[in-house]
Structure formats: C-alpha cells, structure tokens
C-alpha cells in the first residue's frame, strides 16, 4: 500500500545532556533518505543557543530548564504534527534540552523537510514560535549562585 499523502515523519526528543546539533541533523537527514517516499528538496534548520547574558543583561552563569514530563513531549508532538499538515511538509525534527545548560550550549534544534522552501521555512518559524509559547518549559537564570525564574519569552 502506498504511504498516506499526509504521512509526516515526526521526530521529537527532549535531551538531558549536551548535544551536537549538526550530528542530530545529519542523523535526521540519514533517516529521511530511507523514511521518505521521495527526496525532500527543501530543508529549513534552526539552532538556538543559550545567551551569555540574562534577560536584564547580567553575565549568565547557567540556564536551568524545567519541563512537565509527558505533557511537554506530548504537546510538542501534537502541534508539530498539526503544523506539518497545515504547511504540507514531509518531516519535522525537534530536539530540546532540559536540565542545566551553560552559556553558548545548544538548547533547541528545529528542522523541517518539504518539497519547497516556502512551506519548509514557514513551518520551521511557526513551529519555533509555538514551541516558545505552547510547550511547558520554564527557564531559570543563574547568576552568582542565585536563580531567577524567567517570566516570559525573548523577542522575535
């Protein structure tokens, strides 16, 4: 039987340890080669790293990222699939760190594969914004041994 036309390769994972975004992307691309019925000609990638300063401009010691086990993964998978269908893309990759991160460490990778650059780029951007506002993550900035919960998101 031929694959369903709306079948999407969805790959979502939360990571508790530092990771290399390029290794994640290369592994994802290898999976696409065997998992997609035809080559996706366009890919959009986003890599986010921890800023070296806090939201008020102080030098950041570490960033702690708390999540809601079960719900966070479930919400990301649900809205990733919905956005993939909405934009008509073939595959979505999300890797997101949790735990304690140092400045400069990768925190998120979002990648989208599609037939055209428009859907790939639009889906990637919308997914990233949705991730920031609809996935239960909470950031705590650490400065000189003191932690402060971040109340909102950074500007686009």
């Amino acid at each position: 039987m031929s694959p369903h036309p709306l079948a999407v390769l969805l790959d979502v994972e939360l990571l508790v340890a530092p990771f290399d975004p390029l290794t994640s992307l290369a592994a994802w691309q290898a999976r696409l080669m065997v998992g997609l019925p035809s080559i996706a000609a366009a890919e959009a990638h986003f890599i986010g790293r921890v800023r070296p300063v806090t939201s008020d401009g102080s030098p950041l010691e570490a960033l702690e990222l708390e999540h809601y086990p079960g719900m966070t993964e479930g919400r990301i998978a649900a809205f990733s699939l919905a956005l993939a269908h909405q934009h008509g893309v073939a595959a979505v990759l999300v890797r997101h760190r949790v735990g304690r991160l140092k400045p400069g460490e990768p925190i998120v990778v979002v990648a989208v594969a599609a037939d055209r650059r428009g859907p790939a780029l639009r889906c990637c951007q919308e997914l990233l914004e949705t991730l920031k506002h609809e996935a239960p993550f909470w950031k705590r900035e650490w400065v000189n041994g003191c932690g402060h919960w971040v109340a909102g998101n950074t500007p686009l």
Binding site: L65, Y68, M71, H96, V108, K132, A135, F137, W138, N153
Partner: protein, 81 residues
C-alpha cells in the same frame, strides 16, 4: 492514588512559592481546577491570569469539571525555546 482522588502538580516558581510539587486530593463532584486552587490555598481566590491549567497533560479552562483520577497542574508562564 485511588480512583476517587485527584493528583495536583505545581511547576517552577509556583512550586517553590507553595513549597510542594505534588499532592493528592479527595475528588468531590463538580470540583474544578479553580476550586482546587482555592482549597489548597495557593494564593488569593483564583490563579493569576498568567497561570495556565492542564488536566491530564492537556491545556484546559479553569472551570472544567474534574473527574476521578485526573491530574491537574498549574503552570506558570511558559518560557521555552
């Protein structure tokens, strides 16, 4: 947890303000997340507008009736990505 109970969970700043992260509560007919907030003395008569509610891992309205065995969570403002 028995079937006649609710599990209540708090995260991040809410958890630290309350001093606990998870509690069980006897479920009463018609109970809502708003009623749970008040019953557990989590601050004022209702959660601040910035606090969101999740029931069984799905976002929900404050006045959604809860069922036996439900997990209700109060979520401070989200800051991911």
């Amino acid at each position: 947890m028995t079937s006649g109970e609710l599990r209540v969970r708090l995260f991040a700043g809410l958890r630290e303000e309350a001093g606990w992260q998870e509690r069980s509560l006897v479920h009463q007919s018609g109970m809502t997340a708003a009623a749970v907030w008040k019953l557990l003395n989590l601050g004022g008569t209702a959660p601040p507008a910035t606090v969101r509610v999740a029931i069984n891992h799905e976002f929900a309205a404050l006045d959604t009736p809860l069922a036996n065995g439900d997990e209700v969570a109060f979520l401070p403002p989200i800051s991911g990505g």
